[in-house]
Symmetry: C2
C-alpha cells in the first residue's frame, strides 16, 4: 500500500501554521477526552483535534475493515494490534478527508461540529496502555560520558556495550502523559564518606532526553523476531522524559540496576507519530566501531533525523533551552533493539514501549541530561532569570520538543512538558 | 470481618484427600477454561474445581455487593481491585456453601452439574493480567552465596544489601502458568578468556525458587504506602520459578541489571492462595543484622512458614527432589518490599506481581537454584536415573511445590511445573 498520506504537495482545508509540527503529512494518533467527557482516539492537523471515533460512526472509514468501536477506546492498543496495513489505510483516508480539494466534510457543518475540536476543548491522555516498558542505553556519547564520570575515562564503555544494545526493564505504572506534574521523590542515599544511608528527598533530580517507540503484537513466547522483520512491528514514536534521581540511583543500582531512581515517573508526549510519517527523514546510523553479531546486522537506513531540544522553565521565568540533540546519534537503532529484545524468545505485544536511552550528541550542548550538561553539577547552567541549575529545582518545568524538517515539510512531535513539585506531603496532598 | 473461612474444624461435603493442598480452609482463586470453552474465575476444594461465575449467576452470592460479571472474566484483576472486604466475604461464603452441614448446593444435582468440574475437565490460565512485575532479591543466604561465588567471600553482600530490599523490574509478557513448556533461550555469552562474545543456546539454564505476591490497587502516583498499611494491599501468593540463563546474565547485566537472561520465561502456580488463608502460619522474619531506616520498620509477624521444594524430572525418569527451603528464610518481608517500592511514589495496581527473589535456606540442600546447589556446576546433583545435573537439561521438567502445615491443617499451593524444550527452531516450530 502506498504512503499517499506523505504526499508533500498536499494542503489541508484546515488551517496549519507554517511552523506547525502537525501538517496534513503528519497525522499522528492519540487519545483524548472531549468537552462532553467522552474518551476517543483522535488525530491532529494544525491546532485542530479530530475525533476518529465520530468520523468512523459517520461512515468516513466504511470501506476499511475496522470494528465499529475501534476508535471509541481509551487506548490505541487494539488499533495498533490491527497491523501496518490498517494503520496505512486509515492514515491515507484521513489525508483524503482533509485534503484541500475534498469538500465532503469541509462543507458538512453538522459533521464538522461533531468531529473537530479546538485544542483547549480536549484533554490528552496516555495514548497506549503500556504492557511492558523497556529502556535501552543506546547512545554511545551518553554511555561514554557516564562511564567517564563514574568509572574510568580510559575504559568508559563497559566491555559489553559495543556488542549488545544494553537494555533493562522499567515500570509501566508510572508512565504519564505530558502535563501531569510529579513530586520530587524521596529515598535512600549514601552521604559522601559515610557507610550508612539516610532517608530524604532526592537532591539530584534529573531529566533524560529520550524517544520511545510503540510496538504492535510481534511474536509468541519462544519465537525471535529476525532483524529484517523488526520494523514491521514498530507503530510509531513519542518524546520521552525518563526522570531520574541520581543520588538514589547511585546507592541502589548495584547489582540489579536502577529501580526507585527511575520508577517515580516517566513522561511521554501524547501524540504517537507513525514510522510511516517519518519515512522521508530516514538516515544511516553511526558506523559500528566493532563487528556486530549476525542477528544484529541490518541493511539500509534504519535511523531518523529528528531534531530534539530540552528547555527548563522556572516557576516565574521564561524557559531556557539547555540542550539540542538528535535521534540520529543513536549508536544502536530500533530494529537492532527489537531483534535483540526478542532473540531469546521474549514476547512483545501491542502497546509495549521501548525507550532509546538518553540521547546525547557529540558536543557538550547536545548532552541529554543535567548530569552530563553540568558535568555532575561542576558547571551549572544559567537560566534566563539569572538563576543557576545543577539539577532540576522544585517548580521547574522540563519541556522536550522534537521535529524533522526537509524540503519544506516539517513533521513534529509537539512536546512533553512536566513540572516537578516538592516532596509529597500526605497532609497537604490528600 | 471475621476469617470464618479459616475455621480448622470445618469439613466439606466435597471429597478432600488427607494430604491435599486444598482443604475447605484454603479456598484459593484462579482462572480456568471449562469443558465448554468458557473462561471463568474459580476456586478449588480437594480435586474439584468450582466455577464462581456460575455460582454467582445461580444467586449464591446475591447479598454480597458484586457486579454481575465479576467472575466471568479472564483475569482476577477486577475482583482483586474490589478490596479485602470483598475477598473475605466471598471466601467466607464459599466456605459456607461447601460446609458439610450445608445441603443447599450439595442436594441440588442440577446446580452441581453446572458449577463443579473434575480437574481433567478444566485448563488453568494465568490468574491475573500482570501490569507490572518486580523481582526482589531478599534472601540473605542467596545474596551471600552469589556474592561469594562471583565476587569476594569476605564481602559477599553488596554495601546496600542490609539497608535496601533490593529489587528490579522484570518482564510481564513472559509470565506463564504452570504446564506451558518453554524453549532454551539463545543469546550472547562471553567464552572464558575471550573478549569477543559468541551467539548460541544458553548452556547454563537454571531455575530460581521464589514466591510472588499479587497486589490490589494501592496508591496514586506520588503517594507512598506506609509500611503499617502495606499488608492491606496484598491479595495472595503463588509459587514462582524465575527461569534464568546464567551465562547470558553474566555478560549482559553490567551496569543496568539482568534482561534477556530472565525475560524468556517466568512460571507461576495457577492458584492464588490468599494472605487470609495463610493467617495461621505467620512467623517472625529473621532479626535485622543492621538497623533499618524508619520507613522499613514494622511490628508483628510479617512472614509465613511455607515449606518449599524443587524437583527435577528428566524426560524418561521419575523426579528427584533437589531442594527443600522455606519462605520464612526471607530477610526482607513483603511489607518492607511494598513500602520500599512505593516510598518514592511509584504506583502499584491490581494484578501487579512481586517476586521474593530466590529463597535459599541456611543449609546446602535448601539452596534455591542450581547455581548454588551445584556451586557453579562444581558439585553436580545425582538424579534417580543415575544421570547428573549441573544445570537444567533439555526435556527436563522443573517442579516447585509449597505448603503450610500446623495442628493438622495443611494449606498448599499445588505446583508450578515447566518443561524446558530445546532451542526454538523456526522451521519445526512454525
Amino acid at each position: 500500500m502506498p504512503l499517499s498520506a506523505n504526499n508533500p504537495d498536499r494542503k489541508s482545508w484546515l488551517h496549519v501554521d507554517k511552523n506547525s509540527d502537525f501538517p496534513i503529512q503528519n497525522i499522528p494518533f492519540g487519545v483524548f477526552l472531549t468537552r462532553d467527557d467522552i474518551i476517543t482516539i483522535g488525530t491532529r492537523i494544525g491546532d485542530t483535534a479530530i475525533d476518529l471515533g465520530a468520523l468512523h460512526q459517520l461512515g468516513y472509514f466504511d470501506d476499511i475493515p475496522l470494528t465499529d468501536d475501534i476508535f471509541l477506546q481509551d487506548s490505541l492498543n487494539d488499533f495498533i494490534a490491527d497491523g501496518r496495513k490498517t494503520w496505512r489505510s486509515v492514515r491515507n483516508r484521513i489525508a483524503q478527508i482533509f485534503d484541500a480539494e475534498n469538500t465532503t466534510l469541509k462543507n458538512n457543518k453538522q459533521h464538522k461540529e461533531i468531529v473537530l475540536f479546538r485544542l483547549d476543548e480536549i484533554e490528552m491522555q496516555l495514548p497506549v496502555q503500556v504492557g511492558d516498558y523497556t529502556d535501552f542505553y543506546s547512545s554511545i556519547e551518553h554511555a561514554t560520558n557516564v562511564g567517564t564520570m563514574f568509572r574510568d575515562p580510559e575504559n568508559a564503555l563497559m566491555p559489553n556495550w559495543l556488542h549488545i544494545p544494553v537494555g533493562y526493564h522499567g515500570r509501566s505504572s508510572s508512565i504519564i502523559p505530558s502535563g501531569i506534574p510529579i513530586h520530587r521523590p524521596q529515598g535512600q542515599t549514601l552521604p559522601a564518606g559515610s557507610d550508612t544511608p539516610v532517608f530524604g528527598p532526592s537532591k539530584l533530580v534529573d531529566f533524560e532526553l529520550e524517544m520511545a517507540f510503540i510496538t504492535t503484537d510481534a511474536n509468541d513466547l519462544g519465537e525471535p523476531i529476525p532483524i529484517e522483520e523488526a520494523e514491521e512491528y514498530i507503530f510509531g514514536l513519542v518524546l520521552f522524559n525518563d526522570w531520574s534521581a541520581r543520588d538514589i540511583q547511585k546507592w541502589e543500582y548495584v547489582p540489579l540496576g536502577p529501580f526507585l531512581a527511575k520508577n517515580f515517573a516517566s513522561s511521554i508526549s501524547p501524540w504517537i507519530v507513525t514510522l510511516d510519517a517519518l519515512e522521508p527523514f530516514r538516515v544511516a546510523s553511526p558506523k559500528p566501531k566493532k563487528p556486530q553479531l549476525p542477528y544484529l546486522q541490518y541493511k539500509g537506513k534504519k535511523s531518523y533525523d529528528i531534531n530534539l531540544e530540552v528547555a527548563i522553565k522556572p516557576k516565574k521565568a521564561k524557559e531556557t533551552v539547555v540542550s539540542n540533540s538528535n535521534f540520529k546519534y543513536m549508536y544502536w537503532n530500533m530494529c537492532q533493539q527489537l531483534a535483540h529484545h526478542t532473540v531469546n524468545g521474549c514476547p512483545v505485544n501491542s502497546g509495549d514501549m521501548m525507550g532509546s536511552g538518553t540521547i546525547s550528541g557529540p558536543t557538550p550542548d547536545s548532552y541529554g541530561s543535567m548530569l552530563e550538561l553540568t558535568w555532575r553539577g561542576e558547571k551549572p547552567l544559567k537560566m534566563n532569570d539569572g538563576t543557576e541549575r545543577k539539577f532540576i529545582n522544585d517548580y521547574d518545568t522540563v519541556i522536550m520538543r522534537g521535529y524533522c524538517e526537509k524540503d519544506g515539510t516539517r513533521i513534529g512531535f509537539g512536546e512533553v512538558s512536566t513540572q516537578l513539585l516538592p516532596v509529597y506531603n500526605p497532609k497537604k496532598n490528600k
